[in-house]
């Protein structure tokens, strides 16, 4: 077991250092890039905290949308990532084939997309929600 602090706490400390100590010392383009860097550290802090549950919800939601039993057994991180990608590609090919152009399944797809983007924003930019 790793010692404390964990990734989230370390990344928050990094973000605070960049925003509070580095940014005020810089000007112009470098100052802007330091602000971006602080934001990147905050994204990573949220991803380390929320990433696993967001991915789990995504697999369940996407499986249901595609009429599959959610497969909770995908054990390794690589397997979960591969499953998520395969399901996403299946959805894309059904959208491209026009299956979500109208009707009740279009509304289900829309609701799914809203929830998925909301989960992305919880990590990438929670202020947008």
């Amino acid at each position: 077991m790793l010692d404390k602090p964990d990734a989230k706490d370390l990344l928050e400390a990094l973000a605070a250092f960049l925003a509070n100590d580095v940014v005020p010392e810089l000007h112009g383009r470098k100052r802007f890039h330091a602000l971006v860097a602080a934001n990147v550290a905050r994204i990573l802090a949220r991803e380390s905290e929320l990433g696993p549950s967001v991915q789990e919800r995504e697999i369940v939601r996407l499986s249901r949308l595609l009429g599959r039993e959610p497969d909770g057994a995908a054990a390794s991180a690589e397997e979960r990532m591969a499953l998520e990608t395969a399901l996403g590609r299946e959805l894309v090919s059904r959208i491209d084939a026009g299956e979500a152009d109208e009707g009740p399944w279009r509304d289900e797809v829309y609701a799914y997309l809203r929830e998925t983007v909301a989960d992305k924003l919880r990590i990438d930019n929670p202020r947008m929600l």
């Binding site: 959208i95 992305k120 930019n125």
Partner: protein, 339 residues
């Protein structure tokens, strides 16, 4: 070409064209990227002092083939009262500067959006800018598409939004690397099936937004970045101006963080623009948010040797969700009314 050699070739070009003795001073690279380079300089031409800009196309022939004839566009726009720098001369490779270029007045002012929207110095500018933007757009859209100097735009214009969407989908297909983008695909289907009937066929600026205009403490000083100009629906420029990314955080003011849509539309009509079709503008706003998301995917894919040239480009992939959320939010109403 080295800066010193470029300065020498430029001086020779200026004396040849003006027939006067020319001295160039303060020659400095101001900005530039993969597709262009911009240099500022002062020139004494005969007895007159000029503050000028040299705008050069990229060296790569592939990019040059795509580049708009901005010299011709700016000339026509200025004649029609659009606020753009005065252009003087243009030349091609044979002029010895290494690529296609033109020379124009150097305009005073600032282009950084965050300063415009936040600095106290620009409070008066923020107040008058919506009407000025509307006036510029109305004048651009009144430029006759039959002007023979603009014939080159014909081959650069797509037939309509459906073709535009198809073109960007091809880009997504080409660089996706198998990473699924269901939101972008879903919105693309809606865009392809809901294109509005064009209000008019006009000269469309194509990238008219905060960030692409120059301003000072009194107001707008120049409309920049004409390289996406084409013929199309004038409503496209109004919709693009409302895209969320150009609000730079002032999200309760849809038009570039400055004002609401109604104020823009009213001013545009008052300044002689065609009658605004709010549903068509809304369509173009959805398309604009979608297109910006696709552009973020493109930017995020632009890595050199496995790493990004700077942190801004590395982070841009994580802005995709912002535009997806905005496009889906705007779509909600339309989906509901369609049943």
């Amino acid at each position: 070409m080295k800066s010193k050699d470029l300065e020498k070739a430029l001086t020779a070009f200026l004396s040849e064209r003006s027939g006067e003795d020319v001295t160039v001073t303060g020659f400095v690279r101001m900005a530039g990227g993969a597709s262009r380079a911009i240099y500022g300089f002062d020139a004494r031409i005969g007895d007159e002092e000029h503050s000028l800009v040299l705008r050069m196309d990229a060296m790569s022939p592939a990019l040059q083939a795509q580049s708009r004839d901005e010299f011709a566009l700016l000339g026509v726009a200025r004649e029609r009262g659009v606020t753009v720098p005065r252009v003087y001369w243009d030349g091609d490779q044979s002029a010895g500067l290494g690529s296609k270029f033109f020379i124009m007045d150097r305009v005073r002012g600032e282009a950084i959006a965050r300063k415009l929207l936040r600095d106290d110095a620009y409070a008066a500018t923020r107040e008058c800018l919506p009407e000025e933007l509307a006036r510029e757009l109305a004048r651009i859209h009144a430029i006759p598409v039959s002007d023979e100097r603009l014939v080159f735009l014909e081959s650069l214009s797509v037939a309509g939004p459906t073709e535009e969407v198809a073109r960007y989908i091809d880009v997504l297909d080409a660089l996706g690397g198998g990473h699924p983008q269901p939101v972008l695909r879903f919105v693309a289907r809606w865009l392809a099936h809901n294109a509005p009937t064009p209000t008019s066929r006009a000269l469309v600026h194509g990238d008219f937004r905060i960030g692409n205009i120059m301003f000072d403490e009194q107001g707008l000083t120049s409309v920049l970045d004409w390289e996406l100009a084409h013929f199309g629906d004038s409503m496209e420029d109004l919709g693009w101006l409302c895209v969320r990314a150009w609000r730079f955080g002032v999200d309760d003011q849809p038009v570039g963080g400055l004002c609401d849509r109604e104020r823009l539309f009213e001013a545009y009509e008052r300044e002689g623009g065609v009658s605004v079709d709010p549903a068509a503008v809304r369509y173009w706003e959805i398309l604009g948010n979608w297109k910006w998301a696709v552009m973020c995917v493109m930017q995020a894919g632009r890595r050199n040797d496995g790493s990004y040239p700077d942190i801004e480009l590395a982070a841009i992939g994580r802005r995709i969700a912002d535009s997806e959320w905005e496009a889906l939010s705007l779509l909600e109403e339309d989906l509901r009314s369609a049943g």
